[in-house]
Symmetry: none
DNA sequence: GTGGTCTAGACCACG
DNA sequence: GTGGTCTAGACCACT
């Protein structure tokens, strides 16, 4: 598994797990239909408690990214199953805003921020169209 | 003051204050050399605890955005004073990444995310060059 | 067979089987004296484990709805054989209560809930007397 | 507090807590704006673990019935805030169905089931219009 | 072997 | 004092 935990981070461990699984899916490491490792095995891999991973999986389910089949495992949903609601788009904007604002205030130019954006797309192996 | 607190949000109040001050500066509502309201008056305005605003100001100072001078108040530093370090640029990328990744996995297209980016720039009254 | 399994549901598969057999009987698809398919054939039909169907049949027997005779199969009992005890009536009320209460708290009107009730009766092809 | 836990029940404790809080709200024991007891105090009252009550509260939040304000408490939302979606109405029907079907198969008449319905409404102190 | 539930007890951040 | 997070370890139900 490709997940790296930073125990000292302010970001809760379960949130770190959630994010890195999302990034793994975005990157194409895992895709729709694939099964996530069992909560216990992933917990053992990461050296964290089972409940921590469990919470992460339930967060992913709440976001509509995976489906948890009791006693059977967690499966990545297909993009078709996941409807992108206007609320979700708005949420993306809401999440983007403070990051951009802080960057600007710290002295970053629009160009620099867009360059960061390109790097993120590249890291997710996505074509950064027209950026 | 232009700050709106959402008491129901998961985001801590002090963090909401911090972000909105940053957005206010990015938007040009306030600029270098300006003095932030006193901790007490802002706390009274927002109806929150004094300690909450105090924590927010200290967070802004830690980010290098303001300077707190005992008794004379909190002053916004000029952009020249604030050096944009490579570490800070990297931090922006690090903050951008999970937002973008989640958007992609939820089914947003690169175009949609870039559109959100444009809206954020527009909201911050910044020219979105070449986007 | 008319049974549809939803593998993603939180409701255990054996419980889904049990409910749908009950609904089938209520709907009149099958009646007293009829024999349920063998555990093996139904399990094969549904693509589930034999034990799962077996558990469902034993649940139906415990509820007094069918009689399991070793080797000759599971037979639906007649309504006369099944005595409706006061305890069972009370159990119905107990099961109804949380459903109704949640509906009300979520903002449903009495009329809306009664309308749902009518739809359920209609779906079970029963005359909804005086509702 | 009016909650009674049945430790032997198949229904999980956290679910029993959830249901009885919902019934309490439906009954008018508590209303919009009221604060639920803290997870720790309710847990102590009921003789269960804090996490069990915590899970119940989060279930109530997911249903849209309460809002959890971190470090401040859980508040009952007003009915206006809670939009009754068509999905929720359909869910009520889906929950009602197996209960009614089982009643019918066990030999209950439509009248008897509607009588149970009346009793439930009465218990929730609601006018059972035209039933 | 899986996730679900539950307990006990700990430390932290927020207000 | 509140909820949030995390750990450790247990038993159960389902497949």
């Amino acid at each position: 598994m490709f997940i790296q935990i930073e125990p000292l981070s302010n970001v809760p461990i379960y949130e770190q797990v959630t994010r890195q699984i999302i990034e793994g899916i975005a990157r194409g490491d895992m895709g729709p239909g694939d099964t996530l490792p069992s909560v216990r095995s992933l917990a053992a891999d990461l050296g964290v408690n089972m409940h921590t991973v469990n919470k992460s999986y339930h967060e992913l389910e709440a976001k509509g990214i995976i489906t948890i089949r009791a006693k059977s495992g967690a499966i990545i949903r297909s993009t078709e199953e996941r409807a992108l609601t206007p609320e979700q788009l708005q949420q993306i904007e809401k999440n983007l805003k403070p990051v951009v604002a802080e960057g600007m205030v710290l002295g970053a130019t629009v160009d620099q921020i867009e360059h960061m954006m390109k790097k993120v797309f590249a890291d997710l192996q996505l074509p950064a169209e027209g950026v």
